[in-house]
């Protein structure tokens, strides 16, 4: 484990302790899972589809209560929604912008809802808040698009805006569920850089759910691999490549080796016992040009 037991000087930001989640009584989505994430860390959660990645994310978000075990975020058990000790930001695969609002107004939605911004919203929405949202949009390459409507933007642009919406209230924790999953390869790689910049600048604690292994190796400081259902974390490793990582660095041997190794782990997780699965025999597909 990576956490240092130095007199518990700093509690992890996110602690899932022996968490089990059952859906409807018989579907065990998570089985006795333990996961601790330090403040400011960037953790990617990878694993076969249906293994419980989104379930973990929802636990941390407080959208779901564990059947057994405890989910503790920022030192406080996650109870009722909205009672979080820490501020959270969420982004999903679907950017879900409200079509009747401009991009800028969409990005500012959290400021309308989250305390302490909420009480100042009326007063500052034309001034300080607007500038803050515009600065974020500029940072993700959407300068000048604030007044457009969602349907005037491409999928990649909407996803950038969605990241801005997840960050505008300066959350301590950023929860991302396959945020780039619906994008084409080029756009996705562009957004990795955007995401990396945002993280380096703001250092929120990030939990990224993805099934793209290159993405996890590119972005994360730590990768957790999950087994298929009932999900458990079967591998947990640090990624020590220097930052900022670039597309070139993602074709270096140590990067490709890591991706390949992750691929093997997942293949094993899908078919325990036999490592000669088809997936394991074509690990290069993902990393070749």
């Amino acid at each position: 484990m990576s956490d240092t037991p130095s007199a518990s000087a700093q509690r992890p930001m996110i602690e899932l302790s022996d968490v089990t989640v059952r859906y409807g009584g018989n579907v065990v989505a998570l089985d006795n899972t333990t996961l601790r994430i330090d403040k400011g860390d960037f953790v990617a959660l990878v694993g076969p589809s249906g293994c419980g990645k989104s379930t973990i994310l929802k636990l941390v978000a407080g959208l779901l209560e564990p059947t057994a075990g405890a989910a503790i975020v920022g030192g406080r058990e996650v109870g009722a929604i909205g009672s979080h000790a820490k501020r959270l930001g969420l982004a999903f695969q679907n950017p879900t912008m409200l079509p009747w609002l401009s991009i800028l107004d969409n990005v500012m939605i959290p400021l309308k809802i989250v305390e302490p911004f909420r009480q100042d919203y009326r007063r500052k929405r034309k001034g300080e808040f607007r500038e803050r949202a515009e600065a974020l949009l500029e940072q993700v390459g959407l300068a000048g698009f604030g007044n457009k409507r969602p349907w005037q933007l491409s999928g990649g642009m909407l996803q950038r805006a969605s990241l801005c919406r997840a960050l505008v209230h300066e959350p301590d924790i950023l929860l991302l569920d396959e945020p780039f999953g619906a994008l084409d390869q080029f756009t996705r790689e562009e957004l990795w850089d955007t995401m990396q910049d945002l993280w380096i600048n703001r250092r929120p604690t990030v939990l990224l759910v993805t099934h793209d292994l290159r993405e996890s190796a590119y972005l994360a400081s730590r990768i957790c691999v999950m087994s298929s259902r009932p999900g458990r974390i079967i591998e947990d490793q640090r990624v020590t490549f220097a930052r900022p990582r670039t597309l070139e660095s993602s074709y270096q041997p140590d990067f490709t080796t890591l991706v390949q190794q992750l691929r093997m782990s997942i293949a094993e997780a899908r078919a325990p016992g036999s490592s000669q699965t088809p997936a394991a025999s074509r690990p290069l597909e993902e990393v070749s040009v």
């Binding site: 959208l63 909205g82 679907n94 009747w100 959290p110 309308k112 809802i113 997840a166 929860l175």
Partner: protein, 260 residues
């Protein structure tokens, strides 16, 4: 495919068609010598309209007011019920069959009940138009709310949004196009309800005037009443269409320039 005509030409053509219709009516009636007891000619109806306007005007106002009061009550109550039903999956599933049941009752049937409860007059007319207006609003609002994307709701709930916040920021705006679609129906139905109740159980309103005129075989006056109702109906419909355009321009993506 036919190209759509430019707007002014469309309007001009519609207007000419209307004039043409009345001209044809007038000419045919005169040529065939149709009795005014069967079908009066438009010029005669117009004369009656002008002549009797001092008497007809208060009744016109009565019908309009009754319709509007009934409509607003119906929309208000419909909105309330719609929001309650639409914001909970369970309530939606339970209440929907009930709503369908209620809305398939022919609304004429409720007039006698209201007369029993409140006597004949303005109140049954208001209530009838209200009852008719409620259902389209409830159904549309509830449907609009129930189809809010769950992912967006998650994003907001995690931010600490209360049910009220989500309703106000997402649910209701998303429902607006549905609501306005229902308003047009509700308004025209409220109008029908008013006239219906006036004909059956009232001593005021255009519906009542037409009823009495028909009893007196004053056919031109009956038609004058019909013209007033048509004019009211068109006016009400145009107002609701105008409002709809104003408030739901975002649904017409890419059509022309967007509203700033």
């Amino acid at each position: 495919m036919n190209k759509p005509l430019p707007r002014w030409r469309r309007n001009l053509l519609s207007f000419s068609a209307m004039i043409g219709f009345f001209l044809l009516w007038e000419v045919l009636c005169r040529l065939l010598g149709v009795s005014e007891l069967v079908l009066p000619v438009p010029s005669q109806i117009a004369a009656v309209l002008i002549d009797k306007m001092p008497i007809l005007w208060p009744h016109t106002q009565q019908t309009l007011m009754t319709t509007l009061i009934g409509f607003f009550l119906g929309v208000f109550i419909g909105l309330l019920i719609g929001v309650i039903i639409g914001s909970s999956r369970v309530a939606y599933d339970i209440a929907y069959p009930l709503l369908v049941g209620f809305s398939s009752i022919p609304k004429v049937a409720v007039v006698p009940i209201f007369v029993v409860w409140f006597g004949s007059g303005t109140i049954p007319a208001i209530l009838t138009s209200m009852v008719i207006g409620i259902f389209p609003v409830v159904v549309n609002v509830a449907t609009g709310l129930a189809t809010t994307e769950p992912e967006l709701e998650d994003v907001l709930r995690v931010l600490g949004a209360k049910k009220r916040d989500i309703l106000w920021n997402v649910g209701l705006p998303r429902t607006l196009p549905y609501l306005f679609a229902s308003l047009k129906i509700a308004l025209t139905s409220a109008f029908i309800g008013t006239v219906l109740a006036e004909t059956v159980a009232s001593n005021k309103g255009i519906g009542n005037v037409m009823m009495i005129a028909s009893g007196n075989f004053d056919v031109p006056l009956v038609f004058a009443g019909l013209f007033i109702l048509a004019a009211l109906g068109v006016a009400l419909y145009s107002v609701s269409a105008l409002l709809e355009n104003r408030f739901t321009s975002w649904t017409q993506r890419g059509k022309g320039s967007e509203a700033a």
